[in-house]
């Protein structure tokens, strides 16, 4: 492994300064569950690694109508917060199935997003919770919708010197429910062959006023299937409608065949998981 400097930053300015100094030869570190593995595996070399876990603004977890979650907040800190659990069920589904307790106590959602693999378990749930990503850097701040963040496998909108400070999730409407499920052949220790996140908002009469579906591991980036929203809004949350949504998902994805699964298997799973997560999100929406 190529030698690199490790810097435990304590302020936004310090992170900005080190990233600006090294350009693409430096990266921020949170849990390191991807970064250290990639460095040790020789995927790329770095001159500096900036640990942002000591930056106070990156550790904020604030539920005040909307949820503001700093980029260094570990998954376990989030899922142990009962108010967050109640409001953002899709996030809890994914946070609890990533890794074991050690990984969950170290890894963060924002860092999983920045790794930008199509199989990232947190990204699709964030999409169906309509998250906004706040990016900072020496050249200023900007905000990007989470569905626009990833641009390809391992690639995203961050420019050299930019990093994610926090992610904001709007307050869920009443009658909102969400769910995430992934398919793996084993029960743990695996990367999604396919994953689906769904959210559903029901009005007082039980009709769908909004439905969002995003799919993991079935394209070069997470796939946000807006055609399903178009299909379901105004309709009843029935099995038949959700099967139809699954058919849209089957056609909307563009998976590859690899060691984890085949194209046909992933298309099929996209349909099945879309139907299953829409059903579970609806149950949660009804349960309030």
């Amino acid at each position: 492994m190529h030698p690199f400097d490790y810097v435990a930053a304590t302020s936004i300015a310090e992170v900005n300064s080190i990233l600006a100094q090294h350009g693409n030869r430096a990266r921020p570190l949170v849990g390191g569950t991807d970064l250290l593995v990639q460095l040790r595996g020789g995927r790329f070399d770095l001159d500096a690694v900036v640990d942002i876990k000591g930056v106070p603004e990156a550790n904020v977890l604030e539920l005040n109508g909307a949820l503001k979650m700093g980029s260094a907040v570990p998954l376990a800190v989030m899922y142990e917060d009962q108010a967050v659990r109640d409001a953002y069920p899709g996030l809890i589904d994914c946070a609890e199935l990533i890794g074991g307790i050690q990984i969950q106590s170290r890894a963060s959602m924002a860092a999983n997003l920045c790794n930008s693999t199509p199989s990232g378990d947190t990204i699709c749930p964030m999409i169906v919770h309509s998250a906004q990503v706040n990016i900072t850097g020496a050249n200023g701040d900007r905000t990007v919708a989470v569905e626009d963040f990833c641009t390809g496998p391992g690639r995203n909108v961050l420019e050299d010197g930019e990093w994610v400070l926090d992610i904001v999730f709007p307050a869920p409407a009443s009658g909102f429910g969400a769910a995430y499920e992934r398919f793996i052949p084993r029960n743990e220790m695996d990367i999604a062959v396919a994953g689906a996140a769904s959210s559903v908002t029901l009005d007082g009469s039980g009709k769908i006023t909004d439905a969002l579906v995003a799919l993991a591991s079935v394209g070069p980036t997470p796939v946000f299937v807006t055609a399903i929203t178009d299909l379901l809004v105004g309709k009843e949350p029935t099995e038949e409608n959700f099967v139809a949504a699954g058919k849209i998902a089957y056609d909307a994805v563009s998976p590859i065949s690899d060691m984890r699964g085949t194209i046909e298997q992933r298309r099929h799973l996209s349909g099945v998981l879309t139907r299953r997560t829409l059903t579970k999100a609806t149950e949660r929406a009804k349960a309030g």
């Binding site: 060691m259 298997q265 099945v272």
Partner: protein, 757 residues
């Protein structure tokens, strides 16, 4: 002596002697070895599955600060073209040398081409990256069928394999042999039901947690010292001597504790490289430690390939069997196809049989032994076809197996006549088990479906050579020195056999596994032989010790030796009841009555007792995703005599679990250009504890008549039936026959789609 006898120590469950060190992390494994001035080695490996080396330029690596030595195949001594038996598999030294470092051509991805010793692993890795190889990439062949195709590339230059006694005309045939008995044509002509299918399996790895390692010193007097984790220190010494062209007496191998082997830690890989780098470093110790991708890509998995079996049945009797077994050996000949042929028809008494075995060279890592090597493959084919026969003829799957079961006097498919075996008793125990008699709700109501499968399996086990030394301490304990590395609790099982003879507690024996200078030759811990053969050596050593102590008692009491008897742990006089000493009492008197007492025991056992395992498996499958969960699993096995039942059960469970992984998800997933693309535990998909139920065990004891306590080998039979048992359970649940392993969710979905349209 047979196992119907009452024992004091055998059959109990004492805490293993090495347990505390292992659970507290104090035990020394290969990677724990650290010596003064030690250098760190790293290996440059071929990025191509098949490529000629035009030239290697190591100058940039040699010039790097911290680099002490760089080697290529030019530094390997020229080894003899000679075949040497290693107990479980054999080795040709010239192939082994070329395998350990490629001379002119890489034959698989990961084939070593150069190595560096440096002051740190990081420097060694950077130096390896600076070595330039000019490659001529060649067409590769990674499956049996590709390697036998008319346009297949020549993988091993100059090799001509044996094809039924003739020179093979196909370049990649390692060998082709045949066993034929009876009249196969007549057998099938007389059959009223004939079923034939081909079963394919992917290459799979043993998946031991500890990577291969070696720390070596080659000093100025041409003495080599090596520390390594291995299944057999003496076998390592034999291999090193052949590859380094040194006398065995110049080599001392110290086996560390071993973090799993399953057959894969019989061959050596990095050990000779560490030794040569040490020599080139002026005798400094060099340690090489593989990482996980190196283990997957460049050690010895078990072959992929296919097994085609045809069975003919008349009046509920199998009267004809024909098998064609083709294994991919890897870049050099030597797959376990011979063992597969010994096993394929072994559960059945079939009058007319023919077995063809093909060992095929392909551009994949050279295969090694893996727990009952080859038997799982053939059981997958025959046990599924047996299930199909039962389905077609509406027969009970256990009764049909019992009606056709091999027994004492049956001729095995490769010729030998079975001695006393426990096939029938094992099948009967499965038939009578709680699991087989429990109802299975095939539709549990959650959308999933359930199915039950059963399969039988056989492994012949081996005997071979072992040595044990015993010496008595004055406190009444006994030091037991052995050469068998302890993988599955054999310190305990060997000590218990000595304790039984000596009439003392297992805890009063202190077993130590020593280096090759310190005990007589001992073959590998493999072939399920250690508790059987090294236990036999311990039994003999203990008998010899009793003889010595009997003589000493006679001296102490001043009576004739034949007046002294040893019974129930006590020496006593036949004529004078006052004269009596316990083992501990006589031990306390040794130093004053003539000095220390010690003994040795050595065996060279030609035969062993074969073992049968019948497994019952319940699965729950999600038909929408193909997800398969094993919800209940029972392993029934004839072990002869369970010396330490906990470790016998552990072996039965471990074998079952490895077989379950093999059946469901494990495989070498190869890219089109011959690269293994899933060389990590993340993507290799071995089962975790969350993927498995408690594996229930039923121990059957049909004593092995040629062992003093009736022991048969235990470790290998339990990996034989699982793949077939799972295939049969999938068929029971979904009505689909999967004839390619792994039977993963994608394949289940494909088969369901084909069935349902």
């Amino acid at each position: 002596m047979v196992a119907t006898q009452e024992y004091k120590v055998i059959g109990t469950r004492p805490i293993r002697h090495d347990g505390l060190d292992k659970v507290t992390g104090r035990a020394i494994y290969g990677a724990d070895v650290k010596l003064p001035d030690m250098l760190y080695g790293f290996v440059l490996r071929s990025p191509h599955a098949h490529a000629r080396i035009r030239s290697i330029d190591t100058s940039a690596a040699e010039a790097m600060p911290g680099v002490v030595a760089v080697m290529t195949a030019n530094d390997m001594p020229e080894a003899a073209d000679e075949l040497v038996d290693l107990g479980e598999g054999a080795i040709n030294f010239s192939h082994a040398s070329d395998h350990i470092m490629a001379m002119s051509k890489a034959k698989f991805k990961g084939h070593p081409v150069a190595a560096v010793a440096a002051t740190s692993t990081n420097v060694a890795r950077e130096a390896v990256a600076a070595i330039k190889v000019d490659w001529e990439v060649l067409k590769s062949a990674v499956t049996v069928d590709e390697a036998l195709a008319p346009d297949a590339p020549v993988i091993l230059d100059g090799w001509v394999g044996d094809d039924l006694g003739e020179k093979s005309t196909k370049p990649n045939v390692g060998s082709h042999f045949r066993h034929e008995f009876g009249d196969i044509e007549k057998g099938f002509a007389d059959s009223t039901t004939i079923i034939e299918h081909r079963y394919d399996l992917a290459m799979v790895h043993q998946g031991y947690i500890e990577p291969h390692n070696g720390t070596a010193i080659w000093d100025q007097e041409d003495r080599v010292r090596l520390w390594t984790s291995t299944q057999g220190a003496f076998t390592v010494r034999t291999q090193l001597a052949g590859i380094l062209q040194l006398d065995e007496s110049r080599i001392k191998v110290t086996p560390t504790e071993i973090g799993g082997g399953f057959g894969g830690k019989i061959p050596i890989y990095v050990e000779p490289l560490a030794a040569i780098l040490s020599k080139k470093s002026g005798g400094k110790p060099v340690r090489i430690l593989m990482d996980r991708p190196e283990v997957f890509e460049a050690t010895g998995p078990t072959p992929g390939g296919w097994v085609s079996v045809r069975l003919g049945v008349k009046d509920r009797k199998i009267i004809a069997g024909d098998a064609d077994i083709r294994f991919d050996a890897g870049g050099f000949p030597g797959s376990p196809v011979g063992a597969a042929a010994m096993c394929v028809f072994s559960c059945y008494d079939i009058e007319n049989t023919r077995i063809d075995g093909w060992d095929i060279i392909v551009n994949k890592p050279k295969t090694a032994a893996y727990r009952a090597p080859g038997s799982t493959h053939v059981a997958y084919a025959i046990e599924c076809i047996i299930d199909e026969i039962c389905e077609e003829l509406d027969l009970d799957p256990i009764q049909f197996r019992l009606d056709n079961a091999s027994k004492e006097g049956t001729r095995r498919g490769d010729g030998p006549i079975f001695p006393r075996i426990g096939n029938i008793e094992t099948l009967e125990a499965a038939r009578d088990s709680a699991h087989w008699n429990a109802p299975l709700d095939k539709n549990p109501g959650n959308g999933n479906v359930r199915g039950r499968g059963i399969a039988n399996g056989y492994w012949f086990n081996v005997g071979l050579k072992s040595s044990v030394n015993l010496s008595v301490n004055t406190d009444g304990t006994v030091m037991l020195i052995e050469g068998s590395t302890d993988i599955g609790g054999t310190r305990a099982s060997i000590a218990m056999q000595a304790a039984e003879v000596l009439g003392i507690r297992a805890e009063d024996i202190i077993p130590t596994v020593v280096d090759t200078d310190s005990v007589g030759y001992t073959d590998v811990t493999g072939g399920s032989r250690t508790t059987y053969a090294t236990g036999f050596a311990a039994y003999k050593a203990a008998q010899n010790l009793i003889d010595e102590l009997t003589a000493r008692a006679a001296t102490i009491w001043d009576i004739p030796e034949d007046e002294v008897v040893f019974e129930d742990g006590k020496f006593s006089s036949k004529s004078d009841p006052e004269l009596s000493m316990t083992f501990k009492e006589i031990a306390g008197k040794l130093n004053e009555t003539g000095g220390p007492v010690s003994s040795t025991g050595a065996v060279d056992l030609e035969n062993a007792g074969g073992g049968f395992a019948v497994h019952i498996c319940d699965l729950e499958i999600d038909p929408e995703t193909g997800k398969t969960d094993v919800i209940r699993y029972t392993a029934v096995q004839d072990v002869g005599k369970a010396i330490h039942p906990s470790y016998v059960e552990g072996q039965m469970q471990g074998g079952a679990v490895q077989g379950i992984g093999w059946a469901l998800n494990e495989e070498y997933f190869m890219s089109d250009d011959g690269q293994m693309v899933n060389s990590s535990y993340l993507d290799y998909r071995m089962p975790t504890s969350l993927d498995l139920p408690e594996i229930e065990t039923v121990i059957v004891e049909v004593p092995n008549p040629i062992h003093p306590f009736g022991v048969r080998g235990v470790g290998e039979p339990p990996i034989v039936p699982p793949v077939a048992a799972i295939a049969n359970a999938i068929n029971d649940a979904l009505g689909i026959r999967l004839r390619e392993a792994p039977m993963n969710p994608g394949r289940i979905l494909e088969a369901l789609k084909e069935k349902n349209g």
